[in-house]
Symmetry: C2
Subunit: 612 residues, 2 copies
């Protein structure tokens, strides 16, 4: 299907928006009227620029508050419309979006709506303009697509059809199934928007919180399915009003948007196939999503390789070898591989910069990610080195896709380290800081390009504000990534808190012994306040001995219906630290009640720089 996007989704000037849409790979754009009005470019210049950029101008929008008015208002509205039709001729746009009347309608009568829209259609036909009539969810009298379709049927003009917008239909909880019964050729335009599940008035929800498909909670693949069944084979476009997108990098947002349309078409195509339904619609087919098996490695880039190595050794990791060509060491414990890369991207930083995952067919997974507009990691391998390809996530993390066989091969580049016994099993999860503007983009990226599934988002209180957290997991639960956005409020005033530390969590089957060994080896723990253990005693029936041991070892504790969770944190090295976790029974969480303790303790430490 041809892809389009409304210019209102993006930040910047109209000129910047057109360049960004073209660079991302959209086929066309909708011109949002306000963007044109404030632009110094003439309509002819906009048309010519779009042509040069290989973008079609698909829709002029919105035209508001037309139908259901008295005769004087109708005359004024037709005057207003005619001037827009002339403008559209200059722009070379043949379709205008007419929204159902919100503000000025006074006559609730379908016959009046039909008569007035027919007058509009007849006027439009002189300018070869098509009317795409859309029921806004908060339209005064017309607010369902079934109603707008009834009216369009009665108008019965070849140049008057429907615009369907997923937000206006799904936000009301309306069933999109009836779309299948509308003749596809009477659907003139389709706008897609997703939205998080929020309980608020629809207008505010619509104006501030829309997101790209796959970033919210709507069943858009099902929506697309009914659209396909209608016989529609036109453009699918994005119309997203989002406070964050409006102030984010225009080029990134455009890529994010196109990724969402590619992902959605592939999903809808699969859904149709599953249901054995056939449709006219040409939809994007992607290389299939690959099963994710587990973590391959995590990579710390640092200006302090010795500090990282010391902590790993204290945790029971063994030095495996130095890379034959690069300033990179491999440390191993159980199935956990940690790479220490002594070439920091920024001065004086230590961060989780990359990780690898094992997937079913790495080359297919990579092809899928690239089809979803994931950029490839720029990396040169020598002919006799293992070819391990990676993609760059929105937070700039590099994610490498390989197989167990790849791992065996790339390990050899580090020599022939011996396998030692260890209490450590594997990498349990990664916790990665996200730029606040890239949160929705990151979620779509990790779900679409890396086949992880999002769990419900949470918020963790911290002395710096609420930290928004989103966990993504592979279907077998072996790969778990927590994305966190940091509040940015006090960052200006506290230079020391501009960075939110990331971490690598290691799983063990015996956290108590491991903690004792680490302590004996001189490791610095994040100090857990005594008040925490008193609260623990009030909440859980733990024996005094267990409580004393937890406190002595700075272990945190959680329990749910499925099992128990014990964990500790190391001191922070630069902008990262390690966590060690033990999962007992079926506990699948991350000790969320303890996260505020961790954040506050790290905040204290930043103030006083004292470790226990």
């Amino acid at each position: 299907m041809k892809t389009s996007i409304a210019t209102v989704c993006l930040s910047g000037t109209l000129e910047e928006k057109l360049h960004a849409c073209s660079a991302a790979g959209f086929d066309g754009v909708e011109i949002f009227e306000q963007d044109l009005i404030v632009s110094p470019m003439s309509p002819e210049e906009i048309k010519a620029l779009a042509q040069r950029l290989n973008l079609t101008l698909d829709l002029y929008q919105p035209f508001r508050d037309f139908e259901g008015v008295d005769e004087a208002a109708l005359t004024a509205n037709l005057h207003r419309a005619e001037s827009k039709f002339r403008l559209m001729n200059r722009l070379g746009i043949d379709t205008i979006l007419v929204c159902s009347n919100v503000a000025t309608a006074t006559i609730n009568d379908d016959e009046v709506f039909v008569r007035q829209l027919r007058a509009l259609g007849e006027l439009a036909s002189k300018y070869k303009v098509r009317i795409a009539y859309e029921a806004l969810a908060w339209g005064r009298y017309v607010n369902t697509y079934q109603h707008s379709w009834e009216i369009v049927k009665q108008v019965d003009l070849p140049n008057v059809g429907l615009c369907l917008d997923s937000f206006h239909i799904l936000s009301r909880g309306d069933d999109p199934a009836d779309i299948a019964d509308i003749p596809g050729e009477k659907i003139f335009f389709v706008q897609l928007a997703d939205a998080p599940v929020l309980s608020m008035d629809i207008l505010s929800w619509s104006r501030h919180y829309r997101v790209f498909p796959g970033e919210g909670g709507f069943q858009l693949q099902n929506f697309m399915r009914f659209l396909a069944l209608s016989g529609y084979d036109g453009i699918v476009s994005l119309e997203i009003f989002n406070d964050v997108f409006r102030q984010s990098n225009v080029r990134r947002t455009a890529v994010d948007g196109l990724r969402s349309l590619i992902w959605l078409q592939d999903g809808a195509r699969q859904l149709l196939a599953e249901k054995g339904e056939t449709a006219l619609l040409q939809m994007e087919t992607l290389p299939s999503a690959q099963r994710v098996h587990g973590f391959d490695f995590a990579e710390v880039v640092t200006d302090s390789p010795e500090a990282v190595a010391e902590t790993l050794a204290q945790l029971g990791f063994q030095f495996f070898g130095q890379h034959r060509r690069k300033p990179v060491q491999l440390w191993k414990a159980g199935n956990a591989r940690i790479i220490i890369n002594a070439k920091p991207r920024l001065e004086h930083s230590t961060e989780v910069a990359a990780f690898g995952i094992h997937v079913e067919q790495p080359s297919t997974a990579l092809a899928r990610a690239e089809a979803l507009l994931a950029p490839r990691v720029a990396r040169r391998q020598l002919p006799d080195e293992e070819q391990l390809a990676g993609i760059v996530a929105p937070d700039k993390s590099e994610v490498f896709l390989g197989s167990a066989e790849h791992s065996e091969n790339w390990e050899k580049e580090f020599g022939q380290g011996t396998k030692a016994n260890s209490l450590i099993e594997d990498i349990d999860h990664l916790n990665l800081a996200q730029p606040w503007q890239a949160f929705d983009e990151s979620v779509l990226f990790y779900t679409s390009a890396l086949n992880l599934q999002p769990l419900p988002a949470t918020e963790v209180p911290s002395p710096m504000g609420l930290v928004r957290s989103q966990v993504l997991v592979s279907s077998n639960q072996n790969v778990r990534v927590a994305l966190n956005i940091v509040p940015h409020g006090t960052a200006e005033e506290r230079a020391s808190h501009t960075q939110y530390p990331e971490h690598i969590a290691i799983r063990t089957h015996d956290v108590v012994t491991l903690a004792k060994q680490a302590r004996a080896a001189g490791m610095q723990f994040l100090k857990v306040p005594a008040n925490y253990y008193e609260d623990l005693a009030s909440r859980f029936d733990l024996s005094d001995e267990v409580l004393a041991e937890l406190e002595e070892l700075n272990l945190l504790y959680d329990r749910d219906d499925d099992g128990e969770f014990l964990h500790f944190y190391t001191a922070t090295i630069g902008d990262m630290f390690f966590e060690v976790v033990e999962r007992r029974g079926g506990y699948a969480g991350y000790g969320a009640p303890n996260a505020p303790v961790r954040l506050a303790a790290q905040f204290e430490r930043n103030r006083f720089n004292n470790w226990s």
Copy 2:
């Protein structure tokens, strides 16, 4: 009344919070449990620190999910409670907040609630602890204060009473009038929170959007009135969950909070007096709010005094004189006085740094502002110079309070300039950029300390994102200040847009002639796009001649039921510019539909630095 605040309102560590509350002048604090749990300070240390800081510890909170449970859960809950009572004894806190059960209640039976709360009360009495039972708006079975009062009455223990929270009562739309009938001594604690009028689920509204009294839309003075009529004479406390406060400077937020309580008590006292009602309650009495007459002056501080002077001259301002002692010039036109101060606070900046207003009794107005914790401007006047006192607003604007007589006197320090004819009448309004964390604080500051009234807030789309705008006006409409917060998203990437330009708007009775004269004098206008005038033609029945003149002079136009508005903008000088407005008929707005045009044109100019 004694004032208190819950530590959850503030950012930082518990220690920082206590210091900030003490410095602001609170009498006490509520210890929010989570803040204690994550703190490295022992209960004894917290108690001692509070004593040293002269703060009482008024409440331990919250204790959740107690009543309406089966016997096993009751036993566990009593165990949990007892450990908190012991902790409270160590802290020296005698009252605990018990919220109505949200999550674990399974038995909907008042008799069970009463019996279980009585057991809790009896246990608490051993520790000399009082139970303040609060109905949460989303409590499973108990969610109105009438219901919680019914239960407390039946519990009938001296140490079991009520906690009333304005948010939980007013968010549901409940009438607070019944509070007057509750015996004051059974109200153990009062928490106050305001909130903006939003239509969303109450839990999200409560957890993210609460604001201090006077910053939202609740009728809190009326709430306080009924509280006073109940005979309550205890503590009034703030419990505000706010995403912004949680990440703002803790000291500023504490001052903002205490200001809100001072303001609220004064207002409630007045309301009681107006109604001829008497109450036990000792409430703060402030110097009375003074009528605001009009603008005295606006001051531009700049490293480019010549550029500002040139623009003023082109607009028809006359140089009045140079200050006898300071690098400061006075320019006048009609009643508008603009001061150019050649001592910028920051290098390479030009900004609206101060303004003066005429008020009924300046000394009373100043005393009121100071009672509301407004800091005084640090300023030394010589004995023979006019004493003009000012206060510093949250955005760091200096606001001077004077009378017409003051103006005559301070003008003399600039010599004896002659009065010339001018098309200019006065300063119409100021538009001031606000730090995003200080928005609610600014609104309360300008309304409480400066007696301006807020109009409904709006949002203006710009290429950088939505700009939130809040206009405040004096009752006679002569002083109008628009506060704007700038989206901060792209600031990191576009160094040139880190500053949002502020402006001074000048009112004339003939904007067309003034624009022509300014153009003849070589003034640079903000260029308005041609597309704007085409849209104007479609919206209003303006003649071709009028439209041509508007376009030629870069004038913008708006109309409403009350009249017309014509205006233009000058080029930006540093971080500020001038606007000239003409109001025809009763037009009281600010040309809001044109604001996006202005923002986009300024954005374009920043990209290309080209002026028409």
